[in-house]
Structure formats: structure tokens, C-alpha cells
Symmetry: C2
Subunit: 542 residues, 2 copies
Amino acid sequence: MVKLSLFGGLDGIGMNMMSFQHANEMIIIDAGIMFPDADLHGIDKIIPSFSYFEEHQKDIKGIFLTHGHEDHIGAIAHFIEKINVPIYGTKLTLGMVEHKLMEADIKKYKLVEVNEKSVVKFNHFRLEFVRVSHSIPDGVMTIIHSPAGLIVHSGDFKIDYTPVDGKVVDLKRIANIGNKGVLLFMSDSTNAVKKGHTQSEKHVGDAFEKEFAGVDGRLLVATFSSNIHRLQQAINVGKKFGRKICFVGKSMENTSAIARRLGYLDFDDEDIISMNDVDNYADEQILVLVTGSQGEPLAALTRMANDKHPFFSLKENDTVIMSALPIPGNEKMVYSNINKLGRKGVKVIYEAGSKMHVSGHAYAEELKLMLELVKPKFFIPIHGEYRHLLAHKELAEELGIVEKVYIPENGDQLEIDKKKISLVGRVENSLIYIDSNSNCFEDQGIIDDRQLMAANGVVSIVVFMDRDKRIIQNVALKMKGISNPPDDFMIGIKDSIVDQFNYRSGAGNIALENIEKEISDSVRKYMLKKIGKRPLVIPIIL
Amino acid sequence: MVKLSLFGGLDGIGMNMMSFQHANEMIIIDAGIMFPDADLHGIDKIIPSFSYFEEHQKDIKGIFLTHGHEDHIGAIAHFIEKINVPIYGTKLTLGMVEHKLMEADIKKYKLVEVNEKSVVKFNHFRLEFVRVSHSIPDGVMTIIHSPAGLIVHSGDFKIDYTPVDGKVVDLKRIANIGNKGVLLFMSDSTNAVKKGHTQSEKHVGDAFEKEFAGVDGRLLVATFSSNIHRLQQAINVGKKFGRKICFVGKSMENTSAIARRLGYLDFDDEDIISMNDVDNYADEQILVLVTGSQGEPLAALTRMANDKHPFFSLKENDTVIMSALPIPGNEKMVYSNINKLGRKGVKVIYEAGSKMHVSGHAYAEELKLMLELVKPKFFIPIHGEYRHLLAHKELAEELGIVEKVYIPENGDQLEIDKKKISLVGRVENSLIYIDSNSNCFEDQGIIDDRQLMAANGVVSIVVFMDRDKRIIQNVALKMKGISNPPDDFMIGIKDSIVDQFNYRSGAGNIALENIEKEISDSVRKYMLKKIGKRPLVIPIIL
């Protein structure tokens, strides 16, 4: 019997993390962050609580990373800071992890490199890895030989028959594993609602060829810095057209350096120029690879669009290729940049029929192929919103090869044995919010307060209270984020609150510990009556 | 010479409003709202300032509404409240306007119904109207005979050769107008980036036919209530499959009632049931037309998804058809609803290859057709973000028939005569924010405060000051929306601020009127040092 605990990744894209336990052994797959929705004001990223892992700290044998994307490795420094266990991953993944650990000033850690030939053995678990294609190189599918049976975790994948690095997914090996009898398959559902088959990454290279040919000014390509194969293709085509390459944006500079050092990105020193050198070349000799394809407020392209990049100014006749699609929720930011660039006279080539992007996640037909090869007894769709998991479930049922499909929720704990898969409980999986200054906190109240202030404003009220818990008439009051208070507002609110409070207090109805709440409630009630809004109230009692 | 003032609609979808002036005559086209971006916390809608119109009040001959969508008529009650001029529009448009005026408790107004045969004459302007297809019936193109020459305003349109009401755009009349020589054409750019031709609205009816046939439980169709032809098609197909129709959602109930009363929606009393009657029919006899296709937080479908609708509960085996695409920015809300519905066992049919929606705005080929027919001397693309206007400009230039294309910005004032079109100035066009309680305000500071509080929290600080402008040691302080203040925070902040302030104050460096600002600044500086954030500060001086 194996206990499977799911900490995230099942109600949206992000925070991928799960553990497998048997007796006193636990292995973990991934430790990702989730990017916040817009209503999580001031929050940069979200990680799962690690309290379950802290409880089982001595059992943890290692954390296995499927690939180097933030939603899979973004929480690794936070984790290792608390629980220092060996980190397993392929070369590029570990390269990116090491950079993260360095940035977090963590010096004590153990990295174990694995590849498609590795076997990692513990007492109860044995792990192997199969290379898969994705929008970052060096992603793996994880094969877990467990006491319950064979468990296969797809990682994030697509099936690219012509990958840029020539390393095609080893479908024969997956078929062989399938033939041995797989108990449980867990597979990437991101694109389960998309019909057909993704395009090969090579397709983007072909589009670059065609598009670069028609550009005579400076050329910028905005894409995810972790899409190393995309960068390689842009570099290759850029060189062909006599352009020098310039990396702009923090993650673009870092990731390209890591990838080059580890042999995943190939170019000569002479191909590359720094931002300072750009003006020393003719416009048609410049290719800038830049961050900001999602309109992120602090990314390089956004700064350029706002004329706020310290070292790079855009000009008329520059061309920007958006080699990415907006992730749902980012559309407004992306289009805002495109509009600003357009107003500068910069030509922007973006989606709408352009072929400058392909997805890194398998579409329906690829998912079916993988299910068919793995042929599991039990199937758990992972990595997606509920609608994606559901669509993936329907694909599996359509094939008719799976005995049971289970759609999990974040926090589910399941038991798996040869005969059955069943929900046995819930793990503590509260969210840890991390703000732009790397403060971590768990208190949902802070988020609620921020949302309340944002929507309804804030009232700060100072009251003087005597020893009999009676408010002395003189009250000070200030508001922010509140529109159109009526003229008699300040007088009214004081009278209304003071009188009401003293009446109730005199009748002995207000316990000392409730005074603040009482005052808040009456201010909010009064405000609702007067301006139709219930603001956040900050009562200060003197 | 005609003066054209553009108040909105040119930097995003919404707030469409413009005026044409000659001598002492002014006519206005549309008075729309804009829906706010997510960072405009607590704001429901935005309208342009009417101060320019107030200045020219006596010249205004009337306001001409092209169709009944919120981004074209949403500000009409706010306008008429201030400036009571005749409102011209087609029957359905005026029906919707009248409802708005009634809701705003405006009793004094003048509505003038026009149709494709009407001619409205003033001293200097003469107006005619051509019916166009759109996602609401009764939309018009406006033909303005002006002292400078013929001006054509497309309104929002598509070219539907098989419209549900059988009233095809009168292309021959448009061609005739074009043959007379059009000086200026202004045309809907919403879908200028989309290649090809929109599908006919009939297409959705066909999809309903196919999809309704396969549903055996209760069926809900979520769409815009103003898409009367969509409602008519759903009703027709629903009836064919023996379903009774139930309208759910405030705007769905209102709009369907208006449209039926005015003859735009056709059904019998016996076809319709109320929410209370739903349980008296078998599941397969129910068709609910519901609001919430954009995931709007207060709309009926969203309430249902959250189990918060007072009169309607969803259950397993219900089917919801999303007959709309998410407007950019609404994706997260829409998908959140779809996920919640899915978890209830409700089957949701949405985009991704389904044919349950077509756009109401012309694609590139339709725009080219219209440009070709109108053949204007000058062309101004309107109704879109910059990227849409730019794409529309490029289409016009591709045709090579237009002498000059001008891409305007909100607030531009142009002069047009037979020879030229030129920017002559800017009109006051500040934004008026309207919150959920219909409070209007113009103060950007309130928005800024809300954004600051949302991202960084708020500190309320009370200081006692003596007559010498020195802070007496005892300070009270409270925070909200701020995470992890360090332990010595309260002491530190008091000491730091008081000491610093008194030092500077003692040296005579602080003017009385700057005291609050000084205190705010030092709190913010201190907080930045301690927690890396600059919160909003509310200083209260006693």
C-alpha cells in the first residue's frame, strides 16, 4: 500500500507538489509555486504549507523535480530552508535550482543529478526517468516502482517528433513500461480540452525564418526565458540574418547563462553583445531576446513599453515578435503593452494567425496516445483546473482501458494498493502567501483586509474612553479611498457612534474585549446607510 | 468646417461618445460607459466628463444613439440628468434607454424614434440612418450631411447575410451614399485584427439545434441578455424540443420583457414559466436563459455556481451552454464558474471548438467591403484599442482608396473641411468613476489610495502634538493588511518617527501645513526599511 498526498496543482495551474509514502519512506515530486489571481493584492506567489512534511521530516528520502519551471521548482528554496533533503533532477533542472538556492542564500544542500539511464533505489521505492518534450529542455516522466505496483507520473509533456535537441520522447520504453502493467498513471491535463495534436517546436523556428527575413530594423523577440529551444532557434535564425544577440531582462540573462554553461544553449562569444553595445551596430544587426511576453509589470518589455527601461529605448521601425500567447488572466497586460508599443511606431507581431508560439503541453490526441501506451489500471489526471482534469478523465474513459479514474482536489490523501485506489483523508495544505518583499504569511485575514480596503476604503477612528467604558465626546476620524462622504458626515458619524456605544455600554452590554469590534460594526453600519459601502474600520481606543 | 470631438472609445472598448459641431449647432453620437480594469478597485463603471457639453449646452441639438449596448448608451441617464436634450434612436434602443431613465428616476426627457426612413434636419446638419447587423437588434449606421461634406459613422456592425430578423444590411444604399462622395468615414475596429468574415448569427441557431438534441436533463443557456436574436433562437429551438422557457437574472428578465413588448422577441405566454414553476416540470422540459456568461460576480449563473442563488439550485445532469466567449480580462472568472459547475456534476459546453457564439463585430474582410462601398476621402478607425485601430488603418491603406487615415486618441478635437482633417486641440475628457453604490467621483487620488492600500496595507498613526509643534512621546498606531511586522516594530516606529520629527520641528524645518505629510513620509520610510513596503499612512494629529 502506498499513501499519495496531493498538495497542489489540481485547482489551477501551479503549486505542483505531491508525496508517495510507504512505511517510513517518503518521496516527493516537485515543489512549485502558484502565481496569484489579481484579487490577491500585493501577493507575488503562493506556496503550499510544508507542515505535513515537517511532521514526516525523518521519512523523506528526497525530492524529485520533473523540470525547471516555476510551478514545479519555485518553492524549492522555501522547502530546503526548512527541510534539507536531497534534490534529484536532470542537469538543467538542477542548474536552475542551484541558482535559486544561491539567490536565497542557502548554502547547505545536496543535488543529485539523474538522467534517462539513472535508477534511484530506496528500501521501498525505486525510481527511473524517461525524457519527455516540453517548453523547457530536460523534462522527465518519473517511473516509480512502489510496494503497491508501478506508478507513472508524466511530468509536463508534449510529444514532439522533431524536437530542437533531437531527443524524441522514448515511446518504445514507455510502451515497455506499460507492458509490465502500470498500477497508476498521473498525467498532465493542461491541454486536455484542446483537440488534435500540438505543433512541434520546430514549427516556431520555421516561422522565425519567414518572419525575420522581412524585418529591416532592430528585432526583439519576447518569450519565456526558460524556453531554451525557442531561444536557440531565435539565435540560429538571427545569426543567419547577420544579427548579433542581446539578452535583456533578469531571468533572460540568468537562464541563458545557466543553459549555455550546461550545454543546452549553443552560441559563440562573438554572437553576443551587451545592452551597452547595441548602439554600436546597425539596426538590422540587432536581435534582442527579451522578457515580458506576459506583460509582467516589472519585466523588460513592459519597462520599454513605458519608456522606463534604464538601458534600452525602443524607436520607430523596431519590430517586436511576441513569441508566446497570453496566459488566461494576463490578456489585459499583454495587450496594454502591444498598444503602447504600437503608439511608438514599433511594429508588433502577435498571435492572431501568427505561428510564433506552440504549446509545451500535450493536446487530446497526445494524451490518448500516452494513456494507450501506459495502459494503467488507475488513472489520476493532474496539472490543471477542474475543467481540464474532467476533460482528461473523459478522454481516458473514451479509450475504455482504465479501471478507475479519480479526479482529486488539492489536499487529498489517497491510498493505493493492487486492488483499489481510495480517498482516506486530507493533508494540511493551507496556502502560504509570499509578497513582493519575500515576506511569507498564512493569515487569510490580511488578504481579506486588503480586498475590503481596495473595494470599500478605510476609516480610521480614534475614541477616548473613560474608566467606565464610556466614550468621551471628542472623536477624531479620517478616511481614505472613500468617495463623496456627505457634508454632515463627520458630525453624524461621531454622534451616531458615540451615542449608540455609550447607550449600550451604559447598559453593560459591551464586554471589554469587544469594544473595538462594537465600534467597527457601528461605523460600518453607519457608512452603509450613508454611502452604501462598508469600509474597513481601524478603531484606536485611547 | 466641422469640429469633431472624441470623448472615448479609442483606447479600449467602451465610453463611446463623440460630437460634431458647426457654428452654434452640436450633435452627439452615443453616450457609453466603460467597464473598469481589475485594478480600479471598487469601481463599477466609468463615464467621460460632461464638462465640455455643459459649456456648449445651448448648442446641443440632440444625442443620437447607434444601438442599445452599455458601451454606447450606459451613460445616458448621467448625461440627461445634467443636460436634457432630445434623445434619438431606433425603437429597441429607445426602449432600453427608457428603462435606464426610469431606473435613474429621471422623469423629464424627450425620446425621438428614428428608423431607416427617417431624416432628421437641423440648420447645419441632416441625419439619416442605415440598418446594420450587430449582436443586438436595431443598430444603425449614421449618415451625417454636414457643412463640410458627407460623414458616415458605421456604428457597431457586422455583415450578416442571413440575419435572424431577415433584415440584411442595406449594402446598395451604402454604395449609393458612397457614390455621392463621402468626406469622412468612421468605422468599428473591434475585430480588425481578425482575418476573414464573421459567421452569421444563424450559425449559432444551427449549433443550438444540434446540441439541444443531445441534452436530456435541464438546459441552461448563458448569454448576453441584449443579444435578442440569440435569445429568440434559443427559444425557438427550445420550444421545438418541448422545453418551457425561464428567464433568470435581472437584465435577462428586463431586456426580454422590453424586447417582447416592442416586438423584437416572439413567444407565447404559455411558452414561458417563472423560476418558481421550474420544479413543476420534468427536467427535459426546462430551458433557462441566464445572465453570467462573463462570470460577473453578481450575475445569476455565478450565484448558481456558488450555491448562492436564492431561487434556483443547479443539480447533477443539468447542462449549461456558454453561448459567449470570455471578453479579455474575464477569463479567470468565466473558467472559475465552469470549474465550480463541473464539480457539481453539471455538464458545461463552452468554446474550444463549440459553435455556440459568433461575434457581433465585422472581421477584416467585412471592414474592407464597407470601406470599399463607402470610399471615403478621410478615414478614422474608431471603437477599439490602439492595436485594433492600427490594424484597421492598415486595411484601409491596403485598399488604397483613402486619402488620409487618422488614428485618434480619447480627447482629440479635429477640424474637418473638404480639403483636410487636422488635430486642432484637446477637449476636457477626464474620467468619472462610478462605484457600486452609484457614487460618482473624479478624484484619481481615491483610486491611487485604494491601489496603495491593496498592495501595501495601511498604517493609522495617532500623535499628540503640543503648541510648539513637538510630538509628545505617547503615540498610538495600528496596521491592517500588513504581514510580519518585526517584534520591535511598534517601539521602533514610535521612536524613529517622534525623534526625527521633533528634531526637524525643533530646527523649524516643518511648516504647519506639512506636518501630516512629514509624519506620513517618515512612517513610510521606516516601514520600507523594516518590511520592504511603503504602506498608505493615515496620520491623525491631536
